[in-house]
Symmetry: C2
Subunit: 333 residues, 2 copies
């Protein structure tokens, strides 16, 4: 097999985030599960937007954020996702290319509008997401170019892709193309409610070797194994996959492989502003380290650094170049 | 005359800001005057957007930001400006209403798209603005309802309105309606290059009593009187208008009236992030104080507080409720 040309190709929902501040009462009044992601239809999207406070629009999407983080570290990276040829779609395309991510999927000329997620940030920095998938759900297996997948050391997939039917097929096509080229496939479980919707299928993907690496936070891992006991879930995941990277917010992360479990501490922060993108940016740092031949602990440190940057401002993509930030903090990249 | 029903009506260009970080070299390469506002056409708008980094979209517009700040203090306030019935126009309308500003000008159904300003923020926190006026330049005298103007204690106008021809007529109609109802008219000079374009007309507005209060920063005041000597400009402005409120960045402000000149110190900040909106939010605090019967120094303190809030994050509108912030800092509102 030839050497990979790029570090990572990310595949996910192409979404523009619409951020507003809200208090806990707002979440209760609008029946939202704090800290989670809910899929909404256009009618509910309009109702939430009408009710929410003044907003700011920043490109998002889980795997898209991860590729943006990788580019900010200096990685060679591409993103695959679907927008419509509308104002928000142009915003998404501009922003992902401007940070240095390759993106060449043609926008849809008709059908639903570009996806948006209404993200309510509470005073504790937690975010609660309400996503209208729109054009993103029309990601099609035809959008997956096996040669592009083969050119990447790692193909990174978001669990959210399991919601739209054809995106799921695109996911499986990409994973097969990656393995045919002897590359690595990574999956993030995305959200505990997403895990609840697709638990058995996600477990199958891990157990049958469709994915080689899984990223999960505590809530997602507990949901996967339907247990309140994190330690028991760690024991379980160790049997199901070669490498599990488990994020634990301010407690840092665990890297679980057949060789053992290693803990890495979270990177210190001044002030928590908005947790949106924490998991996505952790994955960016970890994958960057991995693609560049670092050991797991060094890769996890890069992940913790990137997560710390993104939770100190509103928006799920880095505002400080991560390559420079890593150098300032004595982390070699 | 009946008592005013609202504190302030602001009239200005309705703009959505598109923020990106940039270095000084970017400004030089694209022939931008650091710290100023340039009017651009659609072709240049597209070229700048293409070249600039990943962005975030936040509603802006000078007088619009001021009304947003007034609403955040708890003021009763309305805004008059023109958007198109397009995605950015809906964003603008949502955001200004969501913060509590009355806005009922119908969006244009055809003509140019909603105005946007490409704002490059350099590492020193300075902002350089490139504005495509679009639909905003179609603000028409018919959009001015004399009864609404008469209902406001203060009518606040931005100097930028002097650029589009019909907006200028709308400005004069509003000022006449305010004075017919024995209300106060305030003007911000907006930008030193704007002053350079309209120096004689701005001086006439002040000298013939069309405006009662003028807001200016140091650069604008020096441009107005074509002098490098700030003190000489202060002497000059004192003869030309009843009340001049002069902002001086980290040096605070001067309130210049026929009774004398009072200095108020800037409010301390932790970190300068983005100066966009500093003058707009200063005006919000000052006008709120004035409309609620405070003395000039107390009003200026509210202005300094609001300016300090807005320069510590990206975006020209407050992210922290100013009423609560004032209370925390022992300022009565």
């Amino acid at each position: 097999m030839p050497q990979p040309h790029i570090d990572v190709v990310g595949i996910g929902n192409a979404i523009v985030d619409v951020f507003a501040q809200a208090d806990d009462d707002f979440l209760v009044k609008h029946a939202m599960n704090k800290g989670s992601m809910a899929l909404i239809d256009e009618t509910r999207a309009e109702a939430i937007y009408e009710a929410m406070g003044p907003a700011m629009e920043i490109s998002g999407g889980s795997a898209a954020n991860t590729t943006a983080g990788l580019a900010s570290f200096g990685g060679r990276v591409a993103f695959i996702g679907k927008v419509k040829n509308d104002t928000l779609g142009h915003t998404f395309m501009h922003d992902i290319r401007a940070i240095g991510v390759g993106f060449d999927i043609a926008p849809a000329s008709d059908g639903p509008s570009t996806a948006r997620s209404y993200i309510l940030v509470t005073p504790d920095g937690q975010r609660t997401m309400n996503t209208f998938l729109g054009a993103a759900q029309d990601l099609h297996p035809n959008d997956i170019d096996p040669d592009k997948i083969a050119s990447a050391a790692i193909t990174y997939l978001e669990g959210y892709l399991w919601d739209p039917k054809r995106a799921k097929e695109a996911f499986l096509k990409a994973a097969a193309a990656a393995h045919a080229a002897k590359r690595t496939v990574a999956l993030t479980l995305s959200d505990s409610f997403c895990v609840d919707r697709w638990r058995d299928e996600f477990l199958n993907l891990m157990r049958n070797g469709t994915v080689d690496i899984v990223f999960a936070n505590e809530a997602e891992l507990k949901s996967l194994y339907q247990t309140a006991d994190f330690d028991a879930a760690v024991v379980a995941v160790k049997k199901d996959i070669k490498l599990a990277v488990l994020t634990r917010s301010e407690k840092g992360c665990l890297v679980v492989s057949r060789n053992g479990t290693e803990a890495v501490r979270a990177f210190p922060i001044d002030k928590l502003v908005d947790t949106t993108g924490a998991g996505d940016l952790f994955a960016a740092g970890f994958l960057y380290g991995l693609a560049r031949g670092k050991d797991h602990v060094s890769a996890a440190r890069l992940g913790c650094l990137a997560a710390a940057e993104v939770i100190q401002h509103i928006g799920a993509r880095p505002q400080t170049p991560l390559k420079a930030l890593a150098a300032e903090n004595g982390l070699t990249v």
